[in-house]
């Protein structure tokens, strides 16, 4: 068996064994079947909608330049990858694979090419599902099915191209690095121009200065090759595929001489991914490698499970300077204030679009916090003391979400300062934090339901979405009903918050019950 054959054999057997594992547990099999049906249903629903030109009420979003903004995001990613390489660039999936390939008599070109293609295919599976979901929600519903497929392929190829850049960039000769940096800077500048233009166009009817700015910014941007439509689409796909292939070939061609560098990059990536999984909360969680003075620790430590919150606070202080915290606080306050002021001069649908986007992001952040639960449970110190698992999960949930809740509360204060109406301020100060708690509990409960790594790449997303959208209905319905009955919006908002908290409590109870019955590996 050749090295390539051995690699392929290992990948196929891993997949088959995972499927066997799933088949052994009837519950997991059912969830996987439901997940596949969900994906098929999503595609079928979209095609049906396209063929019947059904109205789905999302034209506001599409009309507001959402496609331009998506293209802008892709250009910014490409620019960052070109300019700086990428902290998550790596070739080998794990140390054993690296040793196997490096020690084998295989042609480095072929083996490296295979590994790169496999990484892209594996890495893009989850993103592809995300894209499908985005396509259902955001792309114009009158788009024919064939165009939709072409658009999705285009986006997929674009992301594959962008994903191939960082590794090649890391291996680039130092003499060529300035050119790559310049190209990356140009892409970032173009992305900023697109974002500015989209924002200015959206505000042009209500803010005169924004209209003037929109007129002065060029209409064409590099992202237009993504959004130009069908005629250019095929050529763009072909061009990007060629570019992606060229990048893969470049890395593969350099592989033999660059194995030490590729190994080091891969190990760094693995360490970063591990750190990302393990971190409690935060955007910059690189641990200081030098001794820390005791004065840097947080204040008095509380007794009992509240120590989990103290731990999160200590970790936060260790990884965030006072300046970073001040900037974060000011950003939330200013954002809230700006939204309140803009809302007074713009159309309500703009505000609804913005608010729903922010809430969606907050929801995703809160739900994803559950990804660190597995790491927590593996730590033996977590299990010390006589506290129940429910108490531990409640404390851990608070420890993992206090920062997000802080952002929402600060945003609420900014809204109040900007003159937003009382219900809006209450929604930001009370309802949104309660919603964040509910989202976190959904994350814990869905993890407890599907704790296996293979499931987390597939149906866990589906279960989270399903639970999220089902459980968000009772607070909304109850809130609206009570507000209508009492004729006081505030009462409705408070009722919605209480129901969201109750649901969160039930979900945490379920998660602790289920985790208590599972076998947890400390390895």
């Amino acid at each position: 068996m050749t090295t390539l054959g051995a690699l392929f054999y290992a990948d196929v057997r891993s997949l088959v064994n995972q499927l066997r594992e799933i088949r052994r547990a009837p519950g997991r099999s059912v969830v996987w079947v439901l997940f596949v049906l969900f994906v098929a249903g999503l595609i079928g629903f979209r095609i049906y909608n396209a063929s019947h030109r059904a109205h789905f009420g999302r034209h506001i979003v599409a009309g507001a330049g959402m496609l331009d903004l998506m293209a802008c995001f892709a250009i910014a990613l490409l620019g960052a990858a070109l300019a700086f390489g990428g902290r998550y660039a790596g070739l080998f999936a794990h140390p054993a694979e690296a040793r196997f390939i490096i020690d084998s008599p295989a042609q480095p070109f072929v083996a490296t090419l295979y590994v790169q293609v496999r990484q892209i295919v594996r890495g893009s599976a989850r993103q592809a599902l995300g894209l499908l979901y985005m396509a259902v929600i955001y792309l114009p519903q009158t788009l024919p099915a064939a165009s939709l497929v072409r658009d999705l392929v285009l986006i997929g190829v674009a992301f594959a191209f962008i994903a191939a850049v960082p590794l090649a960039r890391q291996l680039l000769s130092p003499r060529l690095a300035p050119f790559a940096f310049a190209a990356g800077a140009a892409c970032l500048a173009a992305a900023v121009a697109v974002a500015l233009r989209a924002g200015a166009s959206a505000l042009s009817t209500t803010v005169p200065a924004a209209g003037a700015l929109a007129r002065h910014l060029p209409a064409w941007h590099p992202g237009a090759i993504f959004t130009a439509g069908a005629p250019g689409g095929d050529a763009t796909i072909a061009a990007m595929l060629v570019c992606t292939g060229a990048l893969f070939a470049y890395v593969a061609q350099r592989a033999r001489d660059a194995y030490p560098e590729l190994y080091e990059l891969s190990m760094k990536r693995l360490a970063r991914v591990e750190r990302l999984r393990a971190r409690s909360f935060g955007l910059a969680a690189r641990a200081p490698q030098t001794p820390v003075h005791r004065t840097a620790a947080a204040g008095p430590a509380p007794a009992g499970v509240a120590i989990f919150i103290w731990r999160a606070w200590t970790e936060y202080r260790r990884t965030n300077s006072v300046r970073a915290t001040s900037i974060e606080t000011a950003t939330c306050l200013i954002a809230g204030y700006a939204v309140a002021r803009i809302a007074q001069v713009t159309r309500p649908e703009m505000l609804v679009t913005f608010a729903s986007s922010v809430l969606n992001i907050a929801f995703i952040i809160a739900v994803m916090r559950s990804a660190t639960l597995a790491t927590e449970l593996r730590r033996p110190l977590f299990w010390l003391s006589g506290a129940t698992l429910f108490e531990r999960l409640c404390a851990l949930g608070l420890a993992q979400s206090w920062r997000l809740i802080g952002w929402l509360v600060l945003g609420g204060i900014g809204l109040a300062a900007g003159g937003a109406s009382a219900p809006v301020v209450v929604a930001a100060l009370i309802v949104a934090p309660c919603g964040a708690a509910l989202a976190l509990a959904i994350g814990y409960a869905s993890y407890a339901l599907l704790p296996y790594e293979a499931d987390q790449r597939g149906p866990l997303l589906f279960v989270r979405l399903l639970l999220g959208y089902v459980l968000i209905v009772p607070p909304i319905v109850a809130g609206i009903a009570i507000a209508a009955l009492e004729r006081i919006t505030l009462t409705g908002l408070i009722a919605a918050s209480v129901i969201a908290l109750l649901e969160a409590g039930v979900l945490l109870g379920f998660a602790s019950w289920r985790l208590d019955r599972m076998s947890i590996s400390l390895r």
């Binding site: 820390v292 620790a297 033996p380 590996s521 400390l522 390895r523």
Partner: protein
């Protein structure tokens, strides 16, 4: 007797990891748990520590059935020293002391533990910056500080330097003298022989033999290694 296990059985799918296991560990006793790879040692520890739910059997401490609050009774030190990456060594002790609501004298005990493991110089170093051995020492110090009456150690000597190993041996002897029930799972037979009052050998999830070294030698010829290989031949 303090810790008593009766009819413990744990299955993973169709595979029986431990099968009708019964034994007891007295207060002030060190029991060495031996067995080849896959014999069920780690699963036994997981069941005792409440990390795996047995399919059958009971686990009692001083006659009381151990429920989900067993964290105050049983502590486990796993083979992989998984510490909090952003907490310092001392903060690990603070964490455990406050979580377990230890009395006011814990700080002095914590200092003494760090001194024994020659870790006073590392007390303000974060977990991420510690070597594997230092992480192991941190975890042992934090777990010993919690003062649970039952302590389970999975390959505790791996990763420790010779001085650390000696300190740990002495510490375990002190814990035994103080009345702690200790179980040590290891493949290092010399270490098990030197530390343990009694040996339990598992094979294919079943208890093969339980007794003191002298009792084992009375029934089987040769060194502990010979006895172990003989008992776990199949």
């Amino acid at each position: 007797m303090s810790l008593s296990v009766s009819g413990l059985t744990k299955r993973f799918g169709g595979k029986t990891a431990i099968d009708d296991l019964s034994f007891a560990v007295a207060r002030g006793e060190i029991v060495g748990l031996l067995g080849p790879n896959g014999a069920g040692k780690s699963t036994t520890f997981a069941c005792l520590a409440g990390l795996a739910r047995p399919d059958a059997g009971t686990i009692r401490f001083d006659g009381r059935l151990l429920e989900s609050d067993r964290g105050r009774t049983v502590a486990v030190i796993p083979e992989t020293p998984d510490v909090y990456p952003l907490l310092t060594v001392w903060e690990h002790l603070v964490f455990v002391a406050r979580l377990c609501r230890l009395d006011a004298g814990w700080e002095a005990r914590g200092e003494a533990l760090l001194a024994r493991f020659a870790m006073l110089g590392e007390r303000d170093t974060v977990g991420n910056a510690l070597s594997k051995g230092m992480r192991q020492k941190t975890l042992i110090a934090a777990t010993v500080l919690a003062g649970t009456p039952v302590l389970l150690l999975d390959e505790p000597m791996i990763g420790l330097d010779p001085r650390g190993q000696r300190e740990l041996r002495e510490m375990l002897a002190e814990l035994r003298a103080a009345g702690t029930a200790l179980m040590i799972s290891t493949h290092q037979l010399e270490s098990a022989e030197a530390l343990s009052d009694r040996i339990i050998v598992l094979n294919h999830g079943k208890l093969v033999v339980s007794g003191t070294i002298e009792e084992l030698r009375a029934d089987h010829a040769g060194s502990l290694e010979d006895i172990f290989l003989d008992l776990t031949r199949t």
